[in-house]
Symmetry: D2
Subunit: 465 residues, 4 copies
Amino acid sequence: MKKAKKKKKDKLWSGRFKTGTASSTEKFTESISFDRRLWSYDIQGSIAHAKMLARQKIISVADSRRIIRGLEEIHQEISNGSFRFDTTLEDIHMNIEKALTNKIGLVGGKLHTARSRNDQIALDLRLYLKDEIKRINSLIRKFQRSLISVSKKNINTFMPGYTHLQRAQPVSLAQHILAYVHMLQRDRDRLNDALKRTDVMPLGACAMAGTSLPIDRGYVAGLLGFKRISENSMDTVSDRDFIIEFLSSLSVLMMHISRMSEELILWSSEEFSFIEISDEFTTGSSIMPQKKNPDVAELIRGKTGRVYGNLINLLTVMKALPLTYNRDMQEDKTPLFDTVDTVSGSLEILTEMFPNIKFNKERMELTASGGFSTATEIADYLVKGGVPFRTAHETVGKMVSYCISKKCDLNDIPFNILKKFSPVFRKDVYKIMSVGSAVEMKRSPGGTSPGEITKQIQRLSKAIR
Amino acid sequence: MKKAKKKKKDKLWSGRFKTGTASSTEKFTESISFDRRLWSYDIQGSIAHAKMLARQKIISVADSRRIIRGLEEIHQEISNGSFRFDTTLEDIHMNIEKALTNKIGLVGGKLHTARSRNDQIALDLRLYLKDEIKRINSLIRKFQRSLISVSKKNINTFMPGYTHLQRAQPVSLAQHILAYVHMLQRDRDRLNDALKRTDVMPLGACAMAGTSLPIDRGYVAGLLGFKRISENSMDTVSDRDFIIEFLSSLSVLMMHISRMSEELILWSSEEFSFIEISDEFTTGSSIMPQKKNPDVAELIRGKTGRVYGNLINLLTVMKALPLTYNRDMQEDKTPLFDTVDTVSGSLEILTEMFPNIKFNKERMELTASGGFSTATEIADYLVKGGVPFRTAHETVGKMVSYCISKKCDLNDIPFNILKKFSPVFRKDVYKIMSVGSAVEMKRSPGGTSPGEITKQIQRLSKAIR
Amino acid sequence: MKKAKKKKKDKLWSGRFKTGTASSTEKFTESISFDRRLWSYDIQGSIAHAKMLARQKIISVADSRRIIRGLEEIHQEISNGSFRFDTTLEDIHMNIEKALTNKIGLVGGKLHTARSRNDQIALDLRLYLKDEIKRINSLIRKFQRSLISVSKKNINTFMPGYTHLQRAQPVSLAQHILAYVHMLQRDRDRLNDALKRTDVMPLGACAMAGTSLPIDRGYVAGLLGFKRISENSMDTVSDRDFIIEFLSSLSVLMMHISRMSEELILWSSEEFSFIEISDEFTTGSSIMPQKKNPDVAELIRGKTGRVYGNLINLLTVMKALPLTYNRDMQEDKTPLFDTVDTVSGSLEILTEMFPNIKFNKERMELTASGGFSTATEIADYLVKGGVPFRTAHETVGKMVSYCISKKCDLNDIPFNILKKFSPVFRKDVYKIMSVGSAVEMKRSPGGTSPGEITKQIQRLSKAIR
Amino acid sequence: MKKAKKKKKDKLWSGRFKTGTASSTEKFTESISFDRRLWSYDIQGSIAHAKMLARQKIISVADSRRIIRGLEEIHQEISNGSFRFDTTLEDIHMNIEKALTNKIGLVGGKLHTARSRNDQIALDLRLYLKDEIKRINSLIRKFQRSLISVSKKNINTFMPGYTHLQRAQPVSLAQHILAYVHMLQRDRDRLNDALKRTDVMPLGACAMAGTSLPIDRGYVAGLLGFKRISENSMDTVSDRDFIIEFLSSLSVLMMHISRMSEELILWSSEEFSFIEISDEFTTGSSIMPQKKNPDVAELIRGKTGRVYGNLINLLTVMKALPLTYNRDMQEDKTPLFDTVDTVSGSLEILTEMFPNIKFNKERMELTASGGFSTATEIADYLVKGGVPFRTAHETVGKMVSYCISKKCDLNDIPFNILKKFSPVFRKDVYKIMSVGSAVEMKRSPGGTSPGEITKQIQRLSKAIR
């Protein structure tokens, strides 16, 4: 990086400066390489601002029209790729304003009346994030629907439910998949709550004190579709809560799909052999020809770190910053954009991949019947016969020990032996020792029985509409 | 740590085990040293559960009554400090159940019918957190009121508003303090949103599949004051979202008060000399007799790291955990409790300290008038006279350069010189160059003028009621 | 928290204060509740300091002796539990100094000559951490020995090596376990490097500028066993690098044992069935009598979050703190102590548990032969016969596809079919298709063959001595 | 993202696959968009590998030559920008191997003999990181030299030393700047220690078990300039410690320069007015013409969050990953590259900016004399006269109180009053009450006296050579 002392350049703020900015400083401080992503929101906000300025007679209607026409042309140019972004112009705001002035002359300099980059960037970010929250929300919904659709086909697919990765009780595959639909629903709830706090119009806070010009903030909010305007000018330009809240919500979402990914990886292992992910969503090995790897799931699991890192990044940036705007806050964009891309990409590929998973139902059901997974059912059977739960638990524990030593399963215990464990046993106990029965009987609300699952699906289908 | 092979002890789950748990394992896995904090919620939940079991005829009314009476006695004992917690009994659930059985005999073993520690701990945590959210919410409200009360007295106290820690424009001290009231209000909003997702009754998910016993989950929810019941048994015992969301919300809150703390520290410095914190809330030096340190603010700023760390802790714990319950999740409690204590302590001491801060109003106002802080006003003056903003900005920039070279202030520029900078200037421009006028004129909604601040205070006072 | 305006109390720094500290401030700012853990180091440092003061004639030999005798008595009292710590005395330094003055009168006030709490706490922490690094280092070594001892018995135990949790190639169990010994060896290397930067004597930096009294810092360093003295007084009291480096190193260590824990959990599952952890190190279920859970491994995996959180905590605390000492830095202790305890406890229980794991060798070996795990061997066989690797890889890939469609294993392919895949095949190819052969042939340095493993064990045994 | 079922493509691992990879999968899993940065290291490693294969007669010398010539051509093409990277070829390894095969035909397929992408990427990363560690090390050294050079000119520039951001004692500006040189020296030490663990040759671990081909790993290590070879094939491909350690070290470095940045920001404020950063390294405001903002320092302070985030990212990725290679580990590159760029850019701009800071020496010295900053000197004066330190401290505390009430400075107290505070005072006490004297007398090793600073500079200049 060579230091290039330059002549005082035509920076839009250079009035009091004697020498120009070093090119190394320009390179280090520029944000145009990443904030250009906000260009359409920047123009949208400027157009609304120009309309308001004219309406309030702060600038003339003619000037406003020329400004708007100029902005629309720039919109066109950026859309079709003919616009040239310039690093020495720092950021998206300056790039567009400069292009405007080049196009329509000095009158372009009227656009920045009653505005500062401090409230302008807050506006751009909020417009952008409102859109992204809605888009991600709809990606989640699509994924939920995909999961529900797979669930519907698997209400009667049985598998072992695990605690501590030990087989605990048989469950329906649908119940397992629907657990994720619920998690995702909470993620959407959180996003919607975050949206409320994002949907606040900041323009008019100006540098941070408001302005003496007779602006109409409510009018701008209306034009841009905001629910309300911010209420304290200093808070307005200091606030990045809405981004942190978004990153928090998506950290939880990534945590959720990292759990799903972990399971897809486990289930793809030869040891579990519960699923086969179709060739289209797996990759092979450069050296081991037999391999078929669940790369997509692994990458999603890994990308969780990325989103957590982005969250801690911005929390660190904002820690102990005195009011109001500080340049540190420019560092909000990279973690935000990266999170949007990471989460979107992960949701899209999962939505596409999930229906291409083949469930090995026989293997799952067979596995569900192992590991003494109906033990709890037997304990409950005894409870229904009047045995205190702890005693019942102890009794079944001994039956399990017995089976381990005899290398048999619980329903292999002959009735006469059974009676020795507890006189409460009748022959009908063998019926409840099947996986199907164990699942079917869990009819408590939210339980894994087909009836309860069907109700769950109905409620969820309504909720995620 | 000595390995002590022990006889199979009377663990409540030891049916199938041949040798007892090593004492090192007991020590490593126990949670009673910290989860005892949940004792009253554990008992409250058990009583509701026992009532339901009787109502549903799963156990007899007489048994239920004996259980409840036993639990009430235990409540009494823990309250008055006569209860002895036992580490070998692992956790709060086992400690209480064992005490119950000791008290009322085998019938105590009926309490755990249609329940598992997996849904029981979820219940305890949710009951606890609902209370804590409400309590912290009210601590924030108290602090907000304290801030508003100070604001009311300082609507006409002027100070420099800063961007980049450079004096930017004069503002009202009230506006500055109210910025924090708004931040805190968002914190409360977030907590209230988190509360919605915490207020869900988990009991009845049992180990993770639900139960075949005819329980009434809605009845339990009603007894315990929950809005609704959880809808998927597997999700119910796997879910710690509600804790993470709480930790996220409080991370943002700590970020907010770390910013305030930073400012209190800056303002306490001899260089700023904006405030003096009363002796009661500062400490001295063990070696430098002249020192008076803003320790409370420094500690709060430091404790931000603690809460961020707790958030990343639990996010890490939950990453990639397969469903459903895993023992890793026991690690949710330490970061939760520590965050509750850290945030509560910080809010309490701030609420107490803030009214004991003496603002050096003269110094603040004097400072506000330095640093060419009315430059924006002059630019806006030119704009009102028809000059494009960018030209006005450039003009005032040159005036600032002029002043720096002449070592004078903007309002020291003689009128004949002023006219050379711009013919638009009239003599009335000197009026707007005062701090008071600059503040007074910022009448845009949310701006720093007394009128706008008064409206803000009215709205906020209503909102935080 | 009630505000109690108190009379100016006998704080050791209260000369210039008019009113005393509020009790809420005392409660919020005290550190004695956790820094008391440093008591023996504090006394050790004070004794060395007192010796030096006398040697340099800054205080008299008689005074020094009285001080040292007093400190030794306090040491005795704390050791036997008769000492009463007082929260109003803030921290461990003040508690001990006050007790000293109570014991020996005003002369106790001479101990703090040419010293400040700023360099004193740095000294205590460094003395403490040097001990802990050595202790943890030896805990790791013990664990490594335990792992090596298990490895020695399992050089010829074969198991599948995994990539992407897919069976890739057969390996020796010893090779797998030794991989962890190498990780732990790097952890020890890192700790030893951290030790170099911890082993620096800070006393004499005083408040932060040094002192005009004729102290001898080298003498104190010699008495306390430090390699060198710090070289810049301001850096000395501002520096917490040594703690962060320690937390970083242990974060990596926790990451390592979280990976081992994950594997122990996987291997304990019925699906893998590679190991059985003895009853002493597992726990049961309160509701499912058949369960035997790998809780210890789960908890260690979970506690990884704790140590990561502690690291991010202190990094956050130190971010952007101006020099020199700030009270925020008091927050270094909790994450430090918690990490020491978490890591120590995890290493101890792992060391105890590991030899109590039963490896199901038959199952492991059987599994190793599945999943076409010798495919690479066959590709290498073709390479040795002159086939370009990529062609060989493609050929074996087709053989795998063939086997999948025929539901057979690679060594089930008849020779005539084999020849169709590649004319290079000779009958001796069947020999390399066994797990044993595949492992035995990996004789490249660091490879999984018994010979290489034996060399590894020899090298490691020497290195970890 | 449209799903495009494609024909089985010419992936280098596609032997066993029936359908091709979905384009969405390709897009989601590709790494070529970022790992292309490793291209030169990938080619360098391949050339060494090809040489070894020929030397060991695993491939012919002629084949090896053709491969090497092909690789050199590719090197040329990438250098001059004519190479086309292809996303469907996943990563840098496949892009280069495919180009090689296109160039020299099937014989290109021999290069991947006795190698896997698992050990290849480990090699690329280690080669890359070794270079980056050295480069960053030399950037730090350059910055240290710049700081030392400024220090040399400011040994006799006095300023207030701060604790708790309160003026504590006068120090030399050189002492303050040198504190950072020491921090940076520790950063370099840590990087050098990390280098030892990076400088390990992984190639030959192959997929993770080693190989049966007669490779010579030591020869490859020699060609590539590695100190030693890795010792356990499974550990080799599972290990990312070296990256985490690098990220940890640079997190501490960023913490250090965030502290410096905080101070530059504080010192640039009108309130401190200690420094003026030259126009070239500051920027202006789009709305407030008088502003001159320390953006570079603010951005560096902000970028600390980025590096912390990268660290937590990779720690999260690696948590609980079972051995050996998992695709999650592909996520190591983005945080690594981003950290390298962030730290390099920050160091470069600081090195360039620091000599362009103008220190307002008069203001600094004037400030140093305020705030009773020589109070400790007076206490030490009393100590030298035989007063116990605590009593001396109390006495000076009272003198400070007196001065505050009289609004005077310590050296304004008339001698007769002075004697009332302590009979030990003689007239020579006034001499030590000057800033110059206070600094000059701190002659303890590492203290702020000119003599000690000169020694420090000598030692440091030697150490950083």
